[in-house]
Symmetry: C2
Subunit: 197 residues, 2 copies
């Protein structure tokens, strides 16, 4: 059997397991992950899945990385095609609400869930979650800074970024907990007021 | 042994277990609770603790109720001694940030944690978390409505309440995840701007 083919199949299996793991963790948390359960649900051999990840912690870390790639592809990357400053800031906010509302992950925003799960539990998983969350916070803050520097908004970029980040998370939290779309409408109205220019 | 004495000791044990359970759940989640582990940590008999709660789900439901009592005693009850409308709204916001910042629960706001944990998991625990969270949201919304009715603020009470609720939760989330007090300072500045009257 050619080595290249085996490696390619290993990569495909890895992607399949990680996508499923991110979906499961968005509902049940990263502690709810089990290599055995994932292998069973995906009808893969347990030994093959164990060989790919080695430990539950390695699976959790790889799941965070995979979920962040999906988050960026839905929220950040499309906004980078939009002109910098206020238009890009509006695009980030709208992409983010749509990513939550469309349930790209079945439990709503992956990072909202695992952030709350690991916020007070020191270790490698905490650090990976904090790094991903901090990276998105930086994107919002820098884009707020651009909008202010371009004279499109009159605000303290750090406070404005904190407010927008808060509104998006609250919309996700309320909508997933209570159902319905009212929380997204409220977040859109509050964001519009902050970004009125 | 007099029956009254046994009942009183049962109540005291129940309170002790629930306070510890709320602390544990604020870090490890309600799924992280174990009757056996709680009994061991508190040096109580396992059979006694099992008899008090019966099942893990009953323990989780009782823990939510106990945690909500502690939350109300720190955040809502002291604010009801403050004049209605804007002063009371400011007191609720400040009490809430202090409750998070002082780590009344070691993992930060209990309801932030268990809300994210059970938001997408239908059942009695979800409903109890949603009810507690909704009850606090109503207090904020009604107090915003009073401030608007008294002419102290010019705002849509529902949007304003959503914003304040979002800012408090974001402060708790960022501070617990990243450490430090910067997130509380940002939330205070943003709340002050919304409540400038």
């Amino acid at each position: 059997m050619p080595v290249d083919g085996r490696l390619a199949r290993g990569d495909a299996t890895r992607r399949l397991v990680l996508r499923r793991a991110a979906d499961v963790a968005s509902v049940d948390g990263l502690d709810g992950l089990s290599l055995g359960r994932l292998a069973g649900e995906l009808e893969l051999s347990k030994s093959g899945v164990f060989a790919l990840f080695g430990s539950k912690e390695e699976l959790q870390l790889a799941t965070i990385q995979a979920a962040f790639g999906i988050f960026e592809a839905h929220v950040v990357t499309p906004a980078s095609a939009v002109p910098p400053g206020l238009p890009r800031l509006r695009a980030i906010c709208e992409n983010w609400l749509e990513y939550s509302e469309n349930r790209v992950f079945p439990g709503g925003c992956f990072f909202f869930n695992v952030g709350a799960e690991f916020d007070a539990r020191p270790g490698r998983v905490h650090d990976a979650v904090a790094s991903a969350s901090g990276s998105f916070a930086s994107v919002i803050r820098e884009t707020c800074g651009e909008a202010v520097a371009l004279g499109q908004l009159d605000a303290d970029p750090e406070v404005l970024a904190f407010e927008l980040h808060a509104l998006g998370r609250a919309a996700n939290a309320d909508a997933v907990l209570n159902g319905g779309t009212r929380a997204y409408a409220l977040a859109r109205r509050a964001m519009r007021a902050r970004l009125a220019g």
